[in-house]
């Protein structure tokens, strides 16, 4: 009896989370198009619904109906699996995101560690896509992605560890509660950690200025050159879900999560998350792209040393 209830509960939660992911991804795609359009002094989508708000729905329907083209000589199994592996880790990350005081799927006591682990998995999907496509551009894109994500993992994890040290816990809810008096961003050492985190996270999800795996001007579309239809949409959903997740993590770890006056917690959480998303979009439509060796150099020569220094500083501040 209890187990059936658990399963039903899990199903309901799963549907809510998946519904949120789909809605969020569609909203973000529309929003990004609008933000980019206004940055570039044009309107963006205007036809489908009010100010093109249903454009993403129309696009999703179009992609669903499209023919599924498999490239000749592709490694079929790898090619088929890649979009799913790319989209599952961001979905799984929703387990530990605290939307509100009680609004969390499961407050794991190793929440931060769990997120770190998931962020490493998505590279496998991208690399599989690059390898399975039997396309040289895709392969270069996949290789770049692997190198990039592995390099930026280190500063990313180090900056998250600093937050865990400050809060004394790996649980996301405890980290939020630890910021009750003062958000983490107002501590100097954590502010440094925030900028390191945001930079590495941008690299983790392959956005400008670190979008070398799908660098359009060089690699056409990088690892997803050969994908069409719903498989392409899967990569797209994965990408935009990742965008929301890194912003949500940033909001939780550095901006006090769902805490805030007057408005309910979930509203504060969404405002903060989408605010960071907006900053990332702004960056994307402003900056050029780094070259692959400059990108690696930046991770290993700048971000990683800063993170280690910051780690030592935080440790000293906590013991003092």
């Amino acid at each position: 009896m209890l187990s059936i209830l658990t399963i039903i509960w899990a199903l309901i939660v799963g549907i809510i989370v998946l519904g949120f992911i789909a809605a969020s991804a569609m909203f973000l795609i529309w929003w990004e198009r609008k933000v980019s359009a206004h940055i570039q002094s044009r309107y963006g989508p205007m036809r489908v619904g009010w100010h093109g708000v249903l454009q993403s729905v129309a696009d999703a329907v179009k992609l669903l109906l499209k023919e599924n083209i498999i490239p000749a000589e592709a490694d079929k199994l790898v090619w088929w699996l890649a979009p799913f592996i790319a989209v599952v880790p961001p979905v799984m990350a929703f387990v530990v995101l605290p939307f509100g005081k009680n609004l969390i799927v499961k407050d794991l006591n190793v929440g931060v560690l769990y997120l770190m682990a998931l962020s490493s998995v998505s590279v496998i999907g991208i690399f599989m896509a690059g390898w399975g496509s039997n396309n040289k551009y895709s392969l270069i894109g996949g290789m770049r992605s692997a190198a990039q994500i592995i390099s930026y993992e280190l500063p990313l994890i180090l900056s998250m560890i600093i937050v865990a040290m400050q809060a004394g816990s790996l649980s996301m809810q405890k980290i939020v509660l630890a910021q009750a008096g003062c958000w983490n961003i107002f501590h100097p050492n954590l502010a440094i950690a925030f900028f390191v985190y945001l930079t590495s996270a941008t690299a983790e999800i392959n956005r400008v200025p670190f979008d070398i795996p799908e660098a359009e001007s060089e690699l056409v579309a990088g690892f997803h050159t050969e994908y069409s239809g719903m498989k392409f949409a899967m990569f797209f959903i994965g990408e935009y879900t990742n965008l929301f997740i890194i912003s949500a993590i940033a909001a939780t770890l550095f901006f006090g999560g769902w805490q805030g006056p007057v408005l309910p917690g979930v509203v504060w959480f969404l405002i903060k998350s989408y605010g960071i998303v907006f900053v990332l979009m702004w960056v994307r439509w402003t900056f050029p792209r780094l070259r692959v060796d400059q990108l690696m150099g930046f991770a290993w020569k700048v971000l990683t040393p800063i993170s280690f220094f910051n780690l030592a500083l935080t440790g000293w501040l906590l013991i003092k």
Binding site: T286, F287, P288, R291, V292, Q294
Partner: protein
């Protein structure tokens, strides 16, 4: 094949055909790249995908009939192509045009130079990954020029405006006001580009010391235009072999220092400022008078030949015309700047990263329309 084999690692070169369908080969250029991982070991450009045998067509057209074909050479600077061709024919016919037509030609040519450099700037930034934003800004400004041209001659891209003996239509007072407005509008926009891209840290990191073209190499490969000036050679036909009324107008010839991609880009930005200066002066001293001299519809040059070159946005555009006494040219040879500029590319991209070839190619601002002709 110089594949390297070490004790436990074996790497092999692989071949990539970049183009003719590729987002950043500026048209239908195909580059055969030999890659060792991300490093380029060899590059062979393949051209000819846009060949329309312009030079042969010219032999079966009267001199006036060929003017629209020059629009399609360098299709982002059609006015300048028109100008180069009609001036070559006028030289062949020993035709002197009116003073007003000369000034109008200068104004129009410089406006088109700005439009062309705007596209070069926008696409170069796009090639470096600044996705679409600088490109849209540049096209927004270009739109103003295109609108002016539309009002002058009724076309937005292929103008067919210059005529043997003058220009097609006079500039009305309204158009001159519009051009003046554009000058006021454009000046701060160029400063905006400096803030958005020119001195951006990532942009500098990507384009400084990339694709360095030395003075000697530039001259040996007969590279011309902003690419030559980017290498520090102060050579501009408008100054050194002045035609029309350029010797009466005051402007500087900007040059680069190192000859890298950034210098070539910067020369273009500065040239836009200089072009605005030229237009301003030309409008101030625009004389009254006719815009065409009376000449027949068909022209019969004597048995003679001539070569005339003008400073196009992309470099020196030369027309070599042989007349045989009939209404058709016996032979017409076009010396297009992009063709020579592209020839130096394989020398510059050896042992650099694959991302940089896009940067070098973008900085050269080649245009397939005039390479293939």
């Amino acid at each position: 094949m110089d594949a390297t084999q070490t004790k436990d690692m074996y790497t092999e070169e692989f071949l990539i055909n970049m183009g003719p369908q590729h987002p950043s080969t500026h048209g239908v250029l195909s580059l055969e790249l030999k890659l060792d991982g991300e490093t380029i070991r060899g590059c062979t450009p393949h051209i000819g995908y846009l060949h329309r045998s312009m030079e042969k067509i010219a032999e079966n057209r009267t001199f006036t009939q060929f003017i629209p074909f020059t629009d399609r050479l360098d299709y982002v600077a059609s006015m300048n192509n028109n100008l180069g061709y009609v001036m070559a024919v006028e030289k062949l016919l020993n035709l002197e045009i009116s003073e007003r037509a000369k000034y109008i030609r200068v104004i129009i040519a410089e406006l088109n130079r700005i439009a062309s450099h705007l596209i070069a700037t926008g696409t170069f930034a796009q090639d470096l990954g600044a996705f679409a934003t600088p490109l849209f800004y540049c096209f927004r400004e270009r739109e103003k020029i295109v609108e002016i041209f539309d009002q002058i001659c009724g076309n937005r891209l292929t103008y067919n405006y210059m005529r043997i003996g003058g220009v097609m239509a006079d500039l009305s007072g309204e158009i001159i006001e519009k051009i003046k407005e554009f000058i006021e509008y454009m000046r701060p926009k160029i400063d905006d580009y400096d803030e958005l891209i020119t001195y951006n840290v990532i942009f500098l990191a990507r384009s400084k010391h990339i694709g360095v073209l030395s003075k000697e190499m530039a001259i040996n490969y007969s590279v011309t235009g902003p690419n030559l000036r980017g290498s520090g050679v102060k050579w501009d036909l408008r100054k050194d072999e002045p035609y029309l009324v350029y010797d009466k107008l005051e402007f500087d010839v900007p040059v680069g220092e190192n000859g890298d991609a950034w210098d070539r880009y910067k020369v273009r930005i500065e040239e836009m400022r200089q072009s605005l200066r030229i237009i301003e002066q030309a409008i101030e001293s625009l004389p009254q008078g006719d815009v065409t001299v009376k000449v027949g519809r068909v022209h019969k040059p004597s048995v003679s030949e001539t070569y005339f070159r003008t400073e196009n946005p992309r470099g020196e555009l030369g027309f070599y015309i042989v007349g045989d006494g009939s209404v058709y040219p016996y032979r017409l040879k076009i010396r297009s700047p992009s063709f020579s500029n592209l020839a130096v590319l394989p020398e510059l991209v050896k042992d650099i990263k694959v991302a940089d070839i896009v940067c070098v190619l973008g900085s050269f601002d080649v245009l397939m329309g005039e390479i293939d002709r």
